[in-house]
């Protein structure tokens, strides 16, 4: 594995480039197909409302997949991720208005570990609300 970022070049507090990821109904249909998660709360408004949701919501795993891109784009090698975990705190509501929602993700180095590994803490929000909690990953750097 060949991360582009060197362990020697980071310190606690080093910020990763932040990114915004758009999500529309179209995105959710594609993700449902690719992931095999066809739960109707992710594509059927009537069903979502009937189970008490404000509208169709994004798959938590979709949000998790987007958030880690801040790390994989930074390290250059997606295979450098050693651990990755999140808590799904709030749903990302995706209205059927052609625009959908935006998932905004930032990350910073939270701890330096042994073997050139670091812990990165991620923050993910949508519509001003935090959508992931305890979002953290361990990555192996060069």
């Amino acid at each position: 594995m060949t991360a582009r970022i060197s362990y020697a070049d980071v310190e606690v507090g080093t910020e990763l480039p932040a990114r915004s990821f758009p999500v529309t109904r179209d995105t959710l249909v594609r993700y449902a197909g690719a992931s095999g998660d066809f739960n109707p709360i992710h594509w059927n408004e009537k069903f979502a409302v009937a189970v008490g949701l404000p509208d169709v919501i994004a798959h938590g795993m979709f949000t998790m997949a987007e958030a880690v891109r801040v790390i994989t784009d930074w390290t250059g090698d997606p295979g450098a991720v050693v651990e990755y975990g999140v808590r799904f705190t709030k749903p990302v509501v995706v209205p059927n208005d052609g625009e959908g929602a935006l998932i905004e993700v930032s990350g910073k180095v939270a701890a330096l570990l042994d073997d050139n590994r670091v812990r990165v803490d991620l923050t993910a929000t949508s519509g001003g609300e935090k959508v992931l909690g305890m979002a953290r990953a361990v990555v192996a750097l060069a």
């Binding site: 880690v68 250059g76 997606p78 991720v81 799904f88």
Partner: protein, 150 residues
């Protein structure tokens, strides 16, 4: 209804191998909008030290989630599947999932708790390749919301 604590520690038989295809990885990477070449270009993946194209980190869930489905729909467990939401997800990787892998999952019920009337179940999915070598472990925490809450 409280779920049966005696299920803690129970493991389920290994799943039939899931064969990881290049086009499935491409489809997944496109679905999450990620154009990293390691997901579609074998040469780019090899330049990073991988034997073939690799899957994005959360791809493993597509495999473990099917395995976990067998656990949560086990009638003996008594989980109200219609009220289940995904609360937490964690992965620990020995190596990335790679095209050509034939992966099998052993699911184990790690914990069962009842918090404010909600049933919380954590399932550990150990993913191994054809040689039996560990690839990734996925921990999936599910909550069956209390009936009166919805």
């Amino acid at each position: 209804m409280a779920i049966d604590q005696s299920f803690v520690g129970r493991s389920y038989p290994p799943t039939e191998p899931y064969e990881v295809g290049r086009e499935k990885i491409r489809e997944f990477a496109e679905a999450v909008g990620d154009d990293h070449p390691a997901y579609t270009d074998a040469e780019a993946a090899k330049a990073l030290g991988h034997p073939d194209v690799i899957a994005p980190p959360t791809f493993a869930f597509a495999i473990t989630f099917r395995a976990a489905g067998e656990v949560i729909q086990d009638p003996g467990l008594g989980l109200d599947y219609d009220r289940v939401v995904h609360r937490e997800q964690k992965f620990a990787y020995t190596r990335p999932v790679c095209a050509g892998d034939r992966l099998s999952v052993v699911s184990t019920i790690e914990s069962i708790k009842t918090l404010a009337g909600n049933d919380v179940v954590e399932i550990r999915g150990e993913v191994r390749d054809e040689t039996g070598a560990h690839v990734v472990t996925a921990w999936t925490k599910l909550v069956a919301r209390a009936a009166e809450e919805a």
